[in-house]
């Protein structure tokens, strides 16, 4: 097939790309770096041969850890009538039906047999295989294939894939946010290109990345962050084009109250790099944040200060001192530049927030959602959606009640999503045997113009209705 190379280039893997490796239901996010050993599902290999191939290609891991594109699957010759039984009444499950030992299989692996060939060997050395029913044989083959296959698919990262990956691999990092719950949040929040969205999350950047993906580089996203700096590891895995980062701002929540009160000062001033003043309600930007982890390792200033005390006329020592001075100068300059950068970013973010006209708010964190929501909802324009995720229901009940009390929001709904996967095979269709126990809860609503008087609740049901037959209310779903 004649490929138009230019046409395809955006669909092909490049060095430096962030990709996701897949085998069955296991995913892993990695960056393509030549000659770098990657480990995935207890296998080591190099991703070099993936460069230049189309995304979605499946590779076999061959000797020396090299990747080889897999030839297109030929449909299994199920046409030939294989020997099979009718039921399992005479099959003993004594663990003795497989004649190959673990060592035998290891030997086969060392000899270089690929997954398919090993499975074939297992079938031939199983005494009970031909007694199994056709369905049982298919199930057996599928199971062995899963165990011995060594194929890897290279995928382009997307919200869907990364959400499933994080939920399967490290749910604790994302507050146990299940992928369908994340899907609800993105839609209920009306996240779309051209809007201005505020995000407060402690989900390793997954939620932020998902929002950025749906914005497509248009509009702006402000990440409100607790602590010293925004966590964005998950965002990297999406592999966004660099211009997407131009739309991303960050704002530390420790300055929220000052911003709301109008007392946040983001103007440039004479920089005193050692300043550490933080007054009650006036936040000075040169405040050094003790929690910041990216400090330049220790305090170079004090180190140099302690050296300064010695006086000497030795030319070698003089030269050393000169160099130390130079280094200190450079470091001080770098710090000035960094502080100025930080100030600029803060000023830009404050500018975006000041108008209190954001179009959407997404909260998903380990913090108690109530104060987060009540604090950040002030930045939203009226008639705009907000979505709050919590792993637990009770904190959201509190949010709901407080919002009802203070007014300013309608259509408040506390929901959770229920999901079930199916196995679909001829005469063997049924839901999967294991299903997710829970995926977290969402509180969603729409802002409205706030009254000066206490808003009367639209919904009258604050108290449990008296014990009488409940009126059938129209459900909004289906």
């Amino acid at each position: 097939m004649a490929d138009n190379g230019d046409d395809d280039s955006q669909h092909r893997v490049n060095e430096g790309d962030y990709v996701v490796l897949k085998r069955g239901d296991i995913y892993k996010a990695v960056q393509i770096q030549k000659k770098k050993k990657t480990v995935f599902e207890k296998q080591w290999f190099f991703l070099d041969n993936a460069v230049g191939e189309l995304y979605g290609t499946t590779f076999e891991v061959v000797t020396d850890g090299k990747l080889q594109p897999r030839k297109p699957k030929h449909i299994e010759s199920s046409a030939d009538a294989k020997e099979a039984g009718t039921d399992n009444r005479n099959i003993q499950d004594d663990g003795k039906s497989q004649k190959l030992t673990r060592d035998d299989i290891e030997t086969l692996k060392e000899q270089g047999l690929n997954g398919q060939e090993i499975v074939q060997q297992l079938i031939e050395n199983s005494t009970t295989f031909r007694d199994k029913t056709e369905f049982a044989q298919e199930k057996y083959i599928k199971k062995k294939k899963k165990k011995y296959e060594n194929s890897v698919m290279v995928l382009r990262p997307s919200c869907r894939i990364l959400a499933m990956m994080y939920h399967g691999r490290e749910p604790g990092k994302i507050c146990h946010l299940r992928y369908d719950t994340l899907a609800q949040m993105l839609t209920l929040g009306n996240i779309h290109a051209g809007s201005k969205v505020l995000v407060f999350e402690t989900c390793a950047g997954l939620v932020l990345g998902a929002v950025i993906e749906r914005m497509g580089g248009y509009g702006s996203v402000v990440q409100m962050y607790p602590g010293g700096g925004p966590v964005r590891a998950g965002v990297e895995s999406f592999g966004f084009p660099s211009h997407f980062h131009d739309t991303l701002h960050e704002f530390p929540i420790c300055h929220v109250n000052a911003l709301l009160a109008g007392t946040l000062d983001t103007e440039a001033k004479d920089i005193d790099t050692n300043a550490g003043q933080a007054n009650g309600d006036k936040s000075n930007l040169t405040q050094t944040d003790p929690e910041k982890a990216e400090g330049k390792g220790g305090s170079p200033d004090t180190e140099d200060q302690s050296m300064e005390t010695s006086t000497s006329t030795d030319p070698a020592e003089d030269k050393e001192r000169e160099e130390r001075e130079k280094r200190r100068e450079i470091r001080a300059q770098e710090k000035i530049v960094k502080t100025e950068e930080k100030r600029k970013k803060l000023s830009a973010a404050a500018g975006v927030l000041k108008g209190r006209n954001a179009d959407g708010l997404v909260i998903a964190s380990r913090f108690h959602p109530c104060p987060v929501l009540l604090g950040l909802i002030k930045f939203l324009a009226p008639s705009r959606p907000f979505v709050v995720y919590s792993q637990y229901k009770e904190p959201l009940i509190e949010c709901y009640s407080k919002l009802r009390e203070q007014g300013g929001a309608v259509s408040l709904r506390l929901t959770d999503s229920w999901i079930r996967h199916y196995q679909v095979l001829p005469n063997r269709t049924h839901p999967m045997l294991l299903m997710s126990g829970g995926g977290g809860y969402i509180l969603s609503g729409t802002t409205v113009a706030t009254d000066t008087t206490k808003a009367k609740t639209c919904s009258t049901t604050a108290e449990e209705p008296a014990a009488k037959r409940l009126k059938l209310t129209e459900t909004t779903e289906g």
């Binding site: 290109a193 324009a381 009940i397 269709t429 409205v448 639209c458 449990e464 909004t476």
Partner: protein, 296 residues
């Protein structure tokens, strides 16, 4: 105002949503001099709507009040006029994410139906994507096209009145994603494959019946699709309530002073803030089957 872009103030020609209360909303076409009747009284467009901010509270003639909201696909799904059974936000949200829709995506959809999913897709793929939607019922196709115009999204969508199973989507090799909500989706899988980009894409089929799902999965496998996966999603709503539970009176543990003393009945109760499920909930809408077209 448009369904793909927010605006601050209500203008003539906008579609605005009058919010009357929980689960009670109605769309209005804003026009100079027009009036809309609500159970709280009359809303006068010129005075109450035009020039006001979306989200404002409007006091009606009878003294009651309503809110006026900016339209979104989610609100539209709840209030749109049904010409067919529609998809609701829970399914729509999952479809959007699983099909990997984003700004710039090109999507093929059939059938258009009442346009519930269509509006959500348009919101997600704007401003650079395109939706090719096919509806075999002529009046429904025309009504959908009319609504897209009114909602200022017609530049992002092409409506075709044809049978997708026989004639496909009207385009080939352009789609990142294909969605099918038709009685016999297995008959459209070949066309779905042709509509999709050569380098691959995602497909989704929505069917209420498991037999349809089985046939569709078979067709997908035959056409070489991978990662075939079927699931269903349901939304559970939790109604927040304050409830008072009376406490039982097990009597005093101290002996009565005199036989004539009667124990004082206790009226103690406990207040709990909790949630209760609604009496009924949606138990089934349809099965969602997803698959990936591999890169050739």
């Amino acid at each position: 105002m448009s369904f793909v872009e927010y605006s601050e103030f209500i203008q003539e020609g906008d579609v605005a949503i009058i919010f009357l209360g929980h689960d009670s909303m109605m769309p209005v076409k804003v026009q100079q001099g027009a009036q809309t009747q609500t159970r709280y009284g009359v809303v006068r467009h010129s005075k109450d709507l035009i020039g006001q901010r979306f989200g404002t509270k409007v006091t009606c003639s009878k003294g009651g009040w309503v809110y006026v909201l900016h339209p979104t696909p989610e609100l539209w799904t709840l209030i749109l006029p049904h010409r067919t059974q529609i998809l609701y936000t829970t399914d729509i949200a999952n479809i959007t994410m699983m099909l990997e829709l984003k700004p710039g995506s090109v999507v093929c959809e059939s059938g258009t139906g009442s346009g519930s999913l269509s509006h959500a897709i348009l919101r997600t793929i704007a401003p650079t994507g395109h939706l090719h939607t096919v509806e075999f019922h002529q009046q429904r196709a025309e009504k959908a096209a009319e609504e897209f115009r009114e909602h200022r999204v017609d530049h992002l969508v092409t409506v075709r009145n044809q049978d997708v199973c026989k004639e496909g989507f009207g385009v080939t090799g352009v789609a990142d994603a294909v969605f099918l909500d038709i009685p016999s989706p297995w008959e459209a899988i070949r066309h779905a494959k042709n509509g999709m980009k050569r380098q691959g894409g995602r497909v989704c089929s929505f069917s209420p019946c498991i037999e349809q799902v089985q046939k569709t999965c078979e067709a997908l496998a035959d056409e070489g699709f991978e990662e075939i996966s079927t699931l269903e999603v349901l939304l559970r709503v939790h109604d927040v309530r304050s409830i008072t539970l009376p406490l039982p009176d097990f009597g005093s543990d101290r002996p009565l002073e005199t036989p004539t003393d009667t124990p004082v009945p206790s009226n103690a109760s406990v207040l709990c803030k909790t949630t209760t499920p609604p009496r009924d909930m949606a138990g089934h809408t349809g099965y969602l089957t997803f698959a990936t077209k591999p890169s050739v």
